[in-house]
């Protein structure tokens, strides 16, 4: 007899969370503590030697964080997850397990501007070399593969323009190259797209956005799909070779199909240190309980706003893949049938000036550098999130100078449309 598979909303509320064993508390407690007592010396040694499951110190793991991790692993269909301090921390920790100095990874050119900066500048000083490819041209990924390629990195729905990436086609390239496919699923969340079902080996998120959903806490997560064989050649020594910091343990041999998540915790988080605070883990966990309700509303509102804008005389173009006629509409129907997300861009006939005016005339939309809040948000990427790119790179990443980005919240859509209407005519 097989138990029934609970639905997504049930998992969003329950996965990973059980009443507290000591107090019976039903909501997940905030374990606001740095450290955990050992039962005895042998218990301490077993925990440090990775022989026993348990808590040691909050830089390595914490019970509130663990509930968040299991919840997201369940929602994404992965074998395990690791929560960290931010989406950017998740990206560093993932690549630290995969790349040695002098190695390369291929990344889609359409990414969050902060990721483009991180890959181009910060990672260069680690000796990790990014090679850019065009997510709209799968062959460009194939051409970018070299013997030093260790991973491929894409966004499922790309920030800022909301374009949809053909995950399965790029997964096929990764598989042929024998490297893992990493998908940043921040803008889609597992409610809209589950990249593992389409061939991803690792999923990362900025929890700061729709998963937390309320614009109150930073966080990031790494999900291990359990699909990649790290030991088939010696390309990934962090996972396949004896680790001197753990008396010669081989991580994959010991932890099987969740070895990558363990490596990220015990070799990445432990030594680099970007731990998530228990309080932030709690806030994000609470946010996730309503993820399905919020995402449905975000998408419904986004579609209505996109339709309104495309009919407005002051608007030159709307890039929302949920609209018929958008170049990504077929991919949106395939990968995100429940909705094309709530982050998109549009451009104004009045160009850069009109964009700047619009932003200052809006009364309900908040002008700030975030997405995925309950509140509707607006920004001009070219002068903010993508400002460090040159003009050509801005255009390639979907942040041309005349483009305005919206992140549509869960207010009443009539009020959002009225605000845009008054700001466009003001």
């Amino acid at each position: 007899m097989t138990d029934r598979l609970p639905g997504f909303s049930t998992l969003a509320v329950h996965a990973g969370a059980q009443p507290d064993p000591t107090t019976g508390a039903r909501a997940t407690p905030i374990y606001q503590t740095t450290s955990f007592v050992f039962n005895d010396a042998d218990h301490a040694a077993s925990l440090f030697g990775l022989q026993a499951f348990g808590n040691i110190y909050t830089r390595i793991g914490n019970p509130t964080q663990a509930v968040l991790e299991e919840r997201i692993a369940a929602l994404e269909g992965g074998t395990a997850a690791l929560a960290v301090a931010s989406g950017h921390a998740a990206q560093v920790v993932v690549l630290q397990q995969l790349l040695m100095p002098g190695d390369e990874f291929i990344a889609a050119r359409k990414l969050y501007g902060g990721s483009i900066n991180q890959f181009t500048h910060a990672f260069k000083s680690f000796g990790w070399n990014v090679v850019w490819a065009d997510p709209d041209d799968v062959a460009s990924f194939e051409r970018a593969v070299t013997p030093r390629t260790k991973a491929i990195f894409i966004e499922s729905i790309a920030n800022p323009a909301g374009s949809i990436t053909d995950i399965e086609a790029i997964a096929a390239v990764a598989r042929k190259a024998g490297v893992p496919l990493i998908v940043d699923n921040t803008l889609a969340t597992p409610y809209l797209i589950r990249p593992i079902d389409h061939g991803a080996d690792i999923v990362v998120h900025s929890l700061t956005k729709f998963l937390g959903g309320h614009g109150n806490s930073l966080g990031g997560v790494i999900v291990d799909a359990g699909t990649f064989d790290w030991s088939k050649d010696n390309k990934y020594p962090m996972l396949s070779e004896p680790r001197p910091e753990y008396h010669g343990i081989r991580i994959q041999e010991t932890f099987g199909n969740f070895a990558f998540a363990i490596a990220c915790r015990v070799l990445g988080l432990r030594d680099l240190g970007p731990a998530i605070s228990p309080f932030n883990a709690f806030m994000i966990l609470t946010g996730i309980e309503t993820l399905p309700l919020r995402m449905a509303k975000h998408c419904e509102n986004a579609k209505a706003v996109a339709e309104f804008l495309s009919g407005h005389p002051a608007v030159a173009a709307v890039n929302y893949s949920g609209l018929a006629g958008n170049p990504y509409n077929n991919l949106a129907r395939k990968y995100a049938p429940k909705g094309a997300g709530a982050v998109f861009t549009f451009s104004l006939k009045g160009g850069y000036e009109a964009g700047v005016n619009l932003v200052s005339n809006l009364k309900l939309f908040s002008h700030l550098a975030n997405v995925g809040d309950t509140r509707s948000l607006v920004i001009h990427p070219a002068s903010t999130t993508h400002s460090q790119l040159d003009d050509a790179a801005k255009i390639k990443s979907g942040a041309a100078p005349d483009v305005v980005r919206l992140s549509i919240g869960i207010e009443d859509k009539e009020d959002l449309i009225a605000d845009l209407e008054q700001a466009l005519t003001a």
Partner: protein
């Protein structure tokens, strides 16, 4: 039995049912996976027997090593084989000469021999391949969730605090039985090297 994808109830029945486990290939070296699994299962209350001809005369956590299954000298419920796939068949053949027969033969993570499994199953023995009993026990009891692992189970009941020597409840609600779709893909990728 579908050895690519076990139903949780199959694994749960085995771990709830067996009391004694002989571990073939148990290592006294405390960084080997077999040592971890041996220690964990002993701490969860199983009667553990280390089998390894290279270490006879020594103890593993106070249990004396024996050279072979025949040397155990008493009935044993489960045989957990910590050997590479190529060394499984002789161990299964040796197990089939025991009287009474073991109820379960378990092959460790990474180990799989379908012909040996078929032989054991023909004799009425349950077989698990390419799994770790420590991981499965930790998953079904949700003890492993402390490591951020997806236990693929749910429970609205208050759990007792695990302590040394205590058996944990494995009877949580499973999310659709065996495996995630992703792990199925991993198994498939292994047999289909395209």
């Amino acid at each position: 039995m579908n050895h690519d994808n076990y139903d949780d109830n199959y694994i749960r029945g085995i771990l709830n049912g067996v009391k004694s486990i002989a571990m073939v290939g148990a290592s006294p070296v405390n960084v080997r996976p077999s040592y971890f699994a041996f220690k964990y299962l002993a701490q969860r209350g199983y009667d553990m027997i280390p089998v390894n001809p290279g270490h006879v005369g020594k103890n593993l956590l106070d249990k004396p090593f024996v050279a072979s299954l025949a040397d155990i000298g008493r009935p044993v419920d489960m045989i957990d084989i910590f050997r590479n796939s190529s060394h499984i068949m002789p161990v299964v053949e040796e197990a089939l000469r025991l009287d009474p027969l073991p109820k379960v033969i378990w092959m460790q993570l990474g180990a799989r021999d379908d012909a040996a499994a078929a032989k054991a199953e023909a004799a009425g023995i349950k077989v698990v391949m390419n799994r770790c009993p420590k991981i499965e026990y930790g998953r079904l009891s949700s003890e492993i969730s402390w490591m951020g692992v997806n236990s693929r189970t749910l429970s609205s009941k208050r759990a007792p605090m695990p302590t040394q020597g205590m058996r944990l409840s494995l009877n949580r609600t499973s999310l659709g039985g065996g495996e995630t779709a992703a792990s199925d893909r991993a198994a498939k990728n292994k047999t289909d090297p395209a």
